[in-house]
Amino acid sequence: MTTTIARGTSDSPVRSLRGGRRPPRELLFRIALQASLGIAISFLAVLLGYVLWTGLPRLDADLLLNMPSTLRPETAGAQSAIMGTLWVITLTALITVPIGVMSAIYLEEYADPTRWWNKVLDINIQNLAAVPSIVYGILGLGVIARGLGLGLTVLSAAITLSLLVLPVVIIAGREAIRAVPNSIRFGSLALGATKWQTIWKQVLPAAVPGTATGSILALSRAIGEAAPLLLLGALAYISFNPDGVLSQFTVLPVQIYDFIKQSREDFVPLASAAICVLLVILLVMNSLAIYLRNKFQRRW
């Protein structure tokens, strides 16, 4: 059987069904894709623009140098909240990254995926990543702040946020470890390296970019969380910076929430300015993620 393929030329109109239909559909699809992207980006642009516009009058040195105050919004700052955020997120990172990476190594390299308990673990980690953050707040209040008696401290906040981001870090770590080709593992083992040497010297270095990126992005999510810490009972208007892990503290999202709760309109620019600070911290962290990823990739 012979088939003739209809080709569109200038003098004969295209009669082939395929040739006639495909272009418009592809074009429509492409427009739909671009429109989706456009909607997403314009939302972001409007939000950022609005926050920057309203916050501009209060983006000054006072914001960084002064403590929060309910009395004088025109000179009040957010220093204790900024410092609190940095303290909490650093401690969260110190808790999360080692535990998350080790869990990921265990699950990828040691656990037998055919065993039912490992399957249960796997599903539960996926589910935990989707649990609303306020649930972790309840856990933090009940078990960490009250049960362990850590109270409302940097440490209990960091542990609570660690629980929140740990599943995401584990999942990111597992994906990074899984992305390391088996040929690298076999190459190492065939040279007489032990399993531990193979993991430590080959798999982990190759998985660093992915793990670092995933961890930092997860921490970025934690940094913006107000709900679990509000539930934990984080205070606003704290007039001192944390001086240790057992210090009282406040964080930016909680402080912003409290600024906005105030009835006086002067607090709106202050809240927007504080949001800008939070965004800058997020931007720095995400840039760090990209930098780390590129740096380690270049070394290959």
Partner: protein, 298 residues
């Protein structure tokens, strides 16, 4: 004493040696169309009645195969005949495949490779392996070659070891000025020679090669083949290849594998014939070998 005789003797210790030999001959006779066991001078490995299972699937059955010292032994045969599986038995890489199981006996210098006390890590230090696809580590050329000695605890004289290994793999002249550059920037053929250098840096006694040239162009292939000739002066080499001409060019002895299809339609690899390469290619004793090497199937 042939491996099969040894095997029979080990299974039936009550038999005298002559009785064992006789029994072995009987078994070998019954086992047609399997090959009669062949002995080689100063064997490094001896496989007797080795079968490999993946879960319940028997991938290769009843292989008797000796490997001679400082020779190149080629394993040839069509796809799915189990030659790579057999190769991976020699350095216990099959241990890494979930569900893989090896039965029968494989000795390395008369020591049972699969005895309980044997440490697979130690086995792989003595028996190196080069893979089908070049798999350099994402590190510098130097670090690739130094990796094996380092994990084996060598701290001093690494520079010299690296140079010797790269020279041994005929890669020194091309890489001596860029040792700190990434190994991934090398060409495919260079990467494969780097993998060979990496392997000989550990000073193994045996190098197993699993289709080392199948991802390379003809020029890179001929360089590796030349290299294998040189390496055979110091190492025992077992190479799996799809390429019959390659087996004919490089090897001293050739084992021809094929796959039987059983009643259920399942393929099982088996060894058909093992002999000197010249004999296999000029005067094979089995019809299937002849068909394969003359290109009638496979």
């Amino acid at each position: 004493m042939t491996p099969l005789t040894q095997h029979v003797e080990s299974r039936f210790p009550a038999l005298s040696q002559s009785e064992a030999r006789e029994a072995a001959l009987t078994i070998a006779g019954q086992d047609t169309p399997g090959p009669s066991p062949v002995s080689v001078p100063s064997p490094v490995f001896e496989m007797s009645d080795v079968s490999v299972y993946y879960d319940h699937y028997q991938a290769v059955r009843n292989v008797d195969l000796p490997v001679a010292r400082r020779e190149i032994t080629a394993l040839i045969g069509p796809s799915g005949c189990g030659k790579s599986t057999i190769l991976r038995c020699f350095n216990r890489m099959n241990d890494l495949v979930p569900g893989a199981r090896v039965t029968g006996k494989i000795t390395f210098h008369d020591e049972d490779l699969y005895a309980d006390y044997v440490d697979p890590i130690e086995v792989r230090r003595r028996i190196g392996m080069v893979f089908q696809k070049p798999n350099p580590f994402p590190k510098s050329i130097y670090d690739n070659v130094a990796y094996g000695p380092r994990v084996n605890g060598v701290k001093k004289g690494l520079d010299e070891i690296v140079e010797q290994a790269l020279r041994g793999a005929a890669l020194w002249d091309e890489t001596k000025d860029k040792l700190t550059e990434s190994a991934l920037a090398l060409s495919g053929g260079q990467q494969q020679r780097l993998c060979i250098a990496r392997t000989i840096a550990v000073q193994p006694e045996v190098i197993l090669m699993d289709e080392p040239c199948s991802a390379l162009d003809p020029i890179a292939t001929s360089k590796i083949e030349d290299l294998m000739h040189d390496l055979a002066e110091d190492f025992t080499i077992v190479i799996v290849t799809h390429n019959m001409q390659q087996a004919a060019r490089v090897s001293d002895r050739t084992a021809f594998f094929t796959a039987d299809v059983d009643d259920a339609g399942v393929r099982h690899g088996r060894l058909v014939e093992f002999d000197k390469t010249a004999t296999i290619f000029s005067n094979p004793s089995d019809r299937r070998t002849e068909d394969y090497i003359t290109g009638r199937f496979g």
